[in-house]
């Protein structure tokens, strides 16, 4: 698909933006899949949407406010127990400087 907006170069650039390391053997297959999917969804370009507002979410657009007050119902500290190593209340990670 020579006129696809996704080429090998754009794919590699997108992978960098998305922080995903692609395995070389996967790359060719992924490129083909993405080109096929984009060719399919490009049918949308033919739909007349002049004067149509985009639907930005799944619900009516309402602002949701809450009281500007402290709440006791927080989850603070709860992630700690699943950390692999702790010492004296500190989280232990492998040394950064060797």
């Amino acid at each position: 698909m020579p006129d696809s907006p996704i080429t090998k170069e754009t794919l590699e650039y997108l992978a960098k933006l998305a922080s995903i390391e692609l395995h070389p053997e996967m790359e060719a297959r992924l490129l083909k899949d993405l080109q096929n999917i984009l060719a399919y969804v490009s049918e949308l370009q033919a739909v007349d949407t002049s004067g149509v507002q985009p639907m930005n979410g799944g619900t009516e657009l309402l602002n949701v406010f809450r009281e500007d007050a402290a709440s006791a119902n927080t989850n603070r500290g709860h992630g700690k127990e699943q950390f692999p190593a702790t010492e004296k209340g500190f989280l232990k990670i492998p040394p950064v400087f060797k």
Binding site: L14, V52, G58, G79
Partner: protein, 474 residues
Amino acid sequence: MNLSDLTLRSFHDGLRGKKFSALEAVQEHFKAIRAKDPGIHAYLTLLEEDATGIAGQVDESLAKGDQLAPLAGAPLAIKDNFLIKGHQATAGSKILEGYTASYDAHVIEKLKSERAVFLGKTNLDEFAMGTSTENSAFGPTKNPHDLERVPGGSSGGSAAAVAGNLALAALGTDTGGSGRQPAALCGVVGFKPTYGAVSRSGIIALGSSLDQVGILAKTTEDVAMLFRAIAGHDPMDATSVAVRYDKDLIEPDIKSMRGLTIGVPKEYFIDGIAPDVREGMDTAMRQLKDLGFKFKEISLPHTKYAISVYYVILPAEASATLARFDGIRYAGRPELPNNFTAPRGAGFGPEPTRRIILGTFVLSAGYYDAYYKKAQEVRTLVKDDFVQAFKEVDVIFAPTAPSSAFKIGEKSDDPLKLYLEDAFTIPVNLAGIPAVSIPVRGRTGLPVGFQLIGRHFREADILGIGRIYEEAQK
């Protein structure tokens, strides 16, 4: 105790009538799981210790003469993208292997307050991306009706658990059909409430403008019982709405229900439907007509664009929601990698990778208007189709999936083929309306499901018609 005859309703009645204890029911289920699940692979983790503990407490309360909540002691299965404090939540991905939830999802809290029993966490396509449960990093789930076939997806584990009598009912999620399509393929009831009816707090997000909880059960009455328990506003999910459901949700007013008009959208009865699905739809329509329901042909002209809209909007949202999984946060062994792209490359399977890259592309400068904004505009048109149709009819009838359960591996080489599986379920998510998939009764062969689609927050209409249908076909 015959598990295949047991529903949430008859379980509750049997428990109160002391026909069996909650502990017996739990033990019976684990016996069935040990015998059958090695072949089906519906569960990723079993929570036997917690389950027997809660069941024991329910039995003690009952012995003391306490009132029981409707779901007390009910053995349920929970999709592995819900957080249950202290237990793993993998979302079917290697990137979350070893992660333990540090809090309960809102719906889990609600079910715990009724003392429902969680038997285990069920298998799913990685991050709920798929229609066959073949995309799970922990191996596929099989359809209990035929172990060589897929159970559908992404809530395939939950559907298979209910269909295989390995749980009375289950929670799944439904972003584009992930609750209804596996229900159809496994011959159980699958339900997606209105967007905003149930809080998503504590459920691993896929596409935030589309995600809803899914309920899988044996009957629409059971669906209503579970839905009543989990619906409601939650400050932790800003999209959740405080809607009060009347008692017609649980006890439908049969007389007024029969006056409802059912619309049949011509765009859903196209050439791509498999012969057994078409025949199933004819059967179901005839059965409903025999019950006195009026049918009317309608048109939802933008239906054919729904898949394209979805596969632009969903990857865009998924690329954002999955950005948090960087191999450091939520990881079993957090460490600072030398190369930050490596853990994501190794942790995500092919489907999340495909969607993250696609989402990154449609959101990128130069392509945003052409793809993402355009898709949002066409989404409005898809929703407006439903708004128009609901001026003429009360409920819409459609097939749930274009085919019955297909063979494992049959479509997995081509992602587009799998995407088309959701052609009839996606429009409902785009519009944010409720729908239920109900197995067509009185036929042989692989299960086929039909959908009833309702107005915003009119779950009572679709579940009520479902109930009339099921009771007539008993």
